[in-house]
Point group: C3
Chain length 342, copies 3
Amino acid sequence: MKTDPGRFFENYRLGETIAHAVPRTVSGGERALYHALYPARGALHSSDEFARACGLPAAPVDDLIAFHTVFGKTVPDISLNAVANLGYAEGRWLAPVWPGDTLAATSEVIGLKQNSNGKSGVVWVRTTGTNQHGQAVLSYVRWVMVRKRDLDAPAPETVVPDLAKAVAASDLAIPQGLDFTGYDFTLAGEPHAWEDYSVGETVDHVDGVTVEEAEHMLATRLWQNTAKVHFDATFRPDGQRLIYGGHVISMARALSFNGLANAQMIVGLNGGAHANPCFSGLTVKAWSEVLDKAETSVPGVGAIRLRLVATRGGAPFQLKGEDGKYLPEVLLDLDYWALMPV
Amino acid sequence: MKTDPGRFFENYRLGETIAHAVPRTVSGGERALYHALYPARGALHSSDEFARACGLPAAPVDDLIAFHTVFGKTVPDISLNAVANLGYAEGRWLAPVWPGDTLAATSEVIGLKQNSNGKSGVVWVRTTGTNQHGQAVLSYVRWVMVRKRDLDAPAPETVVPDLAKAVAASDLAIPQGLDFTGYDFTLAGEPHAWEDYSVGETVDHVDGVTVEEAEHMLATRLWQNTAKVHFDATFRPDGQRLIYGGHVISMARALSFNGLANAQMIVGLNGGAHANPCFSGLTVKAWSEVLDKAETSVPGVGAIRLRLVATRGGAPFQLKGEDGKYLPEVLLDLDYWALMPV
Amino acid sequence: MKTDPGRFFENYRLGETIAHAVPRTVSGGERALYHALYPARGALHSSDEFARACGLPAAPVDDLIAFHTVFGKTVPDISLNAVANLGYAEGRWLAPVWPGDTLAATSEVIGLKQNSNGKSGVVWVRTTGTNQHGQAVLSYVRWVMVRKRDLDAPAPETVVPDLAKAVAASDLAIPQGLDFTGYDFTLAGEPHAWEDYSVGETVDHVDGVTVEEAEHMLATRLWQNTAKVHFDATFRPDGQRLIYGGHVISMARALSFNGLANAQMIVGLNGGAHANPCFSGLTVKAWSEVLDKAETSVPGVGAIRLRLVATRGGAPFQLKGEDGKYLPEVLLDLDYWALMPV
């Protein structure tokens, strides 16, 4: 059979490195589509001139374009037969991606644990995205639950990687040349600098977007993500297309402009949970909580650690019920580091 | 509170200049999306080669891309709390926008008039879009009705600007280098030159487009227009998303190719009314009326003043009822100047 | 009347050449949109680096972008009043199209045959797409059934062109510089080379995409295809918008990556039938059959002739019923040549 059935749990070997297929060159086209698909307004990614005033040669593409492109490469090898996308950790954006760059991705299997039912297991991979110069632009750990096809295949030795709860602020990569000392808060859209945010502070981003089938499919295809559930309405018994979790990430991040306009660049991904599935017709809203703050080695640039929560409505700032489980209206609980002007 | 509530009527001061946030670099991506969103076929904006044959260095982006981008910048400051978008005047396109250009916008408050009910008022602004060279590319007056938040705020002195009924033909800016003397009517798609149109002539553009939620949201986001009613189906009691009026402008203008293929460049906006709201599922059609004609200082280039009417069906050439009000099927009544080969 | 009613059967003359309007410059924007609209993953069209490793200066735009752009140009002159799109033959891709290229198109009328009912007739045209250097990039024959407007117009002399059943392998144009000797099958996504396919072999491409109104309209507009039935829900009595047949071609071709990832470039179009209409809400699937194989003059490059069948579900590999007619679930039956690494 020439078609690719994807990998099953028993096909992964600890320590192996998988080179993912179909490198991708991004251009101003991807940037324009990103702005059409999400209400993204971060000035550094919107304007070459603004980016130059911040010490960069031009506006990089949105940091999540890099993430989605690299993630999309991994789907055929990592999550085609995944039952669940369980988590992210130790994500670091290592270099900006510019129009014209070509991205490729590899993943190393760093953990394996068969489930007690013997029908599936958890696979941990560390994925690295690289540009055409061989330079790493992004690295993150993801773990997924994957079905076994051959239930008789022996369980591998259980290895659960020891993952950091959060990327240390000192490990965040600041893009070369970035300089916020002449930062224009008026052009950026909000006056709030790094020092104006305090740990524990919450922000309701207010705005909402009702999502459409055509839009999430355009987005997910753009990243060459091939997971069938996003595209084929006959795949699930309920006739619904499951929206790619990354679509919710980008939507929530874009909505967070309203209150976090100066959280310009994403540089770390500490963790994330797709708490509940998202479907067409729902209205996505978002709120954030400041989890931590740190100085960086670059003058004028502060790091802020944010919890970004996407919901399908309901009151903001509610996350889990008394049972410790995510509330049904919570779609996403993401933990990331961004760079802000001080 | 860190989120932006937008300005209310009492927040505007006569004479103040508002620098709008989030400059935007446009590329071939925005052009491609424009062609995907609207049936735009004007050869000058479609083909670098055709544009060069008309004396330009390359194809500029569609004139309405410049308009929407600049307009989108103004929304957070001007119309986030607007009850109604009342009118446009004195619009002039001052220089073409090329892929790679970065647009920013400022608005000067030129008029204020509190309504007699004390709950809202009309704000007139003159908005200027500039490119990365500081060159003005577009200027227009818009007035909107804006709610008051503090009903006790004193009414400002009433100042109603004296606006021209139409931009004088002699004030139209002809793009540098534009030369229609070797104009190729075959490649442009229609044989009708400027002298073939007479004042009072009407053209039914025949074609129709049924509009979809995904499309108008993609378009409106692309211009970074943040008005909530376009995106959030929970915002209005009827659960409908109001379509951005500019989407109807671009749709009607694109449809007008059929009969006005040689009305290549928009250079003036004399007025405009969004007569009735547009919603997903309606089929937009268009007709035009020649309001005026003028020669220009450039050999081979004529100016034509057009009324462009978008409808949701119904017989063409019907605009208002006996009561002087727009018919319910009329969506848009726009008055603009375009340049045509003589 | 200034609007274009399109041509009717009696308006075609054997041997005349029609220069189609509105040349079009393509960019990275069209490429990005193509990847958003279809699950296209061919590495040669996705990555500049991969294309360079195959001897090309950069990644060309997808071969079907060239086809759709040229086809779109012809619609106002050839198929605006067409009752049916009957077939394709003798299609050859003659040179890659690069971002920045400007495409124009001409068609020569090579056959005419009035139907016995006197109300319509068949028109055969050979269409040629050229770039800004005057170089032909694509040539194909298409025939359509077109209505007569003047039923009294005399029937033209019947001339039915003698068309090849398939483009001879020796007539396929291999892009200059193409070299598959260092082809990276891992990055391309599948290990199957030209020699791994045998004539008669069938491949079920497995994946499916449920199509949306917004998506097919975005695509069809992008190619500046003006056929009313694709956009106007009030045009057909059933209120449905007919999906452009080319949308189905691109969808099926993109789906065929799964099993034919190395069929990198389309170089010949031998024939094609739009067996049944496609509408929004259907889920498109695809299967292929290897019809022929041929060596080429270029080391490492083989030609493979494929039948590509798009369906709206149903079991794969079923094409026609006992009556010799296409099964109702078959949407497309396409016969093309592609280039593969040996």
